[in-house]
Symmetry: C2
Subunit: 210 residues, 2 copies
């Protein structure tokens, strides 16, 4: 008899002008949790989605035909500003978060989770350069300005861009054990900064307007 | 009068089953050298190119219609094995390297540069897990097993996966100054490990066969 491991489907939710490393840092780590995690990409409409830096990634699914998601990853990027006014995006996040095991955001992606009301009553963080883009979306969130990432139940939010790498490994450790996370970090020759409270970039915190 | 800064075109050369972070770690950094660097993606044929981890990236150009390249970035990944036997890939690299200012590889991408003969007589490194995949391609390369990355004139090779981030910042520092590289690392909230000789993963060096 062969043992069937439960497969978790991770939906990477993308949109025009997402930040490359916000998305692909975490996907590098989750994509090597084989065979327990299967990554799919989803956007409002399927097709090529341009990043801030230029390269386009294919969204395999649209919001209307996206299968069930166990894990959700939401990158940030300049395109966040437009998505904050997009009811289709906010509705999709709200709808899918209710049945997901873990909902993650990187950088300004946190602003979208806050706007969708998913962080109300929870602790959360965002990137240092435009912290208030997230913080201004809801006063009911316990904003943590000094953190590499913050875990509060199913909601996990990270600081800017490369912090998503450290957060992803923490979520892998939660789901599959610390040894597995370390093995994946070593394979990627990545020095995992595994302390969520250590934030080397807090000194750049800017709470001005955007 | 307005001053026109020279624009450098960076060609990211991709192929089926490239490793996500090998490509998008460096592109995060180079993509924020605005407006001096413009990123384009190129593969043997244009169209969607799947990564090892699943997500597909669009190659905008094929080898036959790719414009001139100032900078070349070559990721690694499982697909390297097939590309080592692909004369179109090896020919493209050889052809384009002769007119490029900097040619970079990440992880097993180094094996392709070695196979194309581009590293002969030079110092170079590759990832720790399958070091000999690169080393076996040419005896005329001065292989450096303990290095985060190695710069030898226009040829810059890095160790596994996430080492590409550190290498990219070093190349940005070479072209645009150290201050610029630091500013880009800070924006991405990335702790730049800026010593090419410090290799925390050398302890995992495996020189066995693949």
């Amino acid at each position: 008899m062969t043992e069937t491991k439960p497969l978790r489907r991770l939906g990477a939710v993308i949109y025009d002008n997402f930040e490359l490393l916000d998305l692909f840092g975490p996907l590098e780590m989750f994509g090597n949790v084989v065979p327990e995690i299967k990554i799919i990409t989803v956007a409002e409409q399927p097709g090529p989605i341009p990043s801030v830096q230029g390269p386009k990634t294919i969204a395999e699914f649209g919001f209307s035909d996206c299968p069930g998601l166990d894990l959700i990853l939401l990158p940030g990027g300049l395109g966040t500003l437009k998505q904050l006014k997009n009811p289709a995006m906010l509705g999709f996040l709200k709808d899918r978060a209710s049945s997901a095991e873990v909902i993650m955001s990187v950088c300004s992606g946190t602003a979208l989770l806050a706007k969708a009301g998913l962080l109300d009553g929870r602790r959360a963080t965002s990137n240092k350069q435009f912290f208030n883009l997230a913080a201004n979306q809801s006063e009911r969130v316990k904003w943590v300005a000094e953190a590499r990432w913050v875990e509060d139940g199913p909601l996990v939010t990270s600081s800017g861009v490369s912090a998503g790498l450290d957060m992803a490994l923490a979520v892998i450790a939660r789901l599959f054990g610390r040894e597995r996370a370390e093995s994946i970090a070593n394979r990627a020759e990545y020095v995992w900064q595994d302390d969520p409270d250590r934030d080397p970039f807090h000194k750049f915190l800017n709470r001005g307007g955007i």
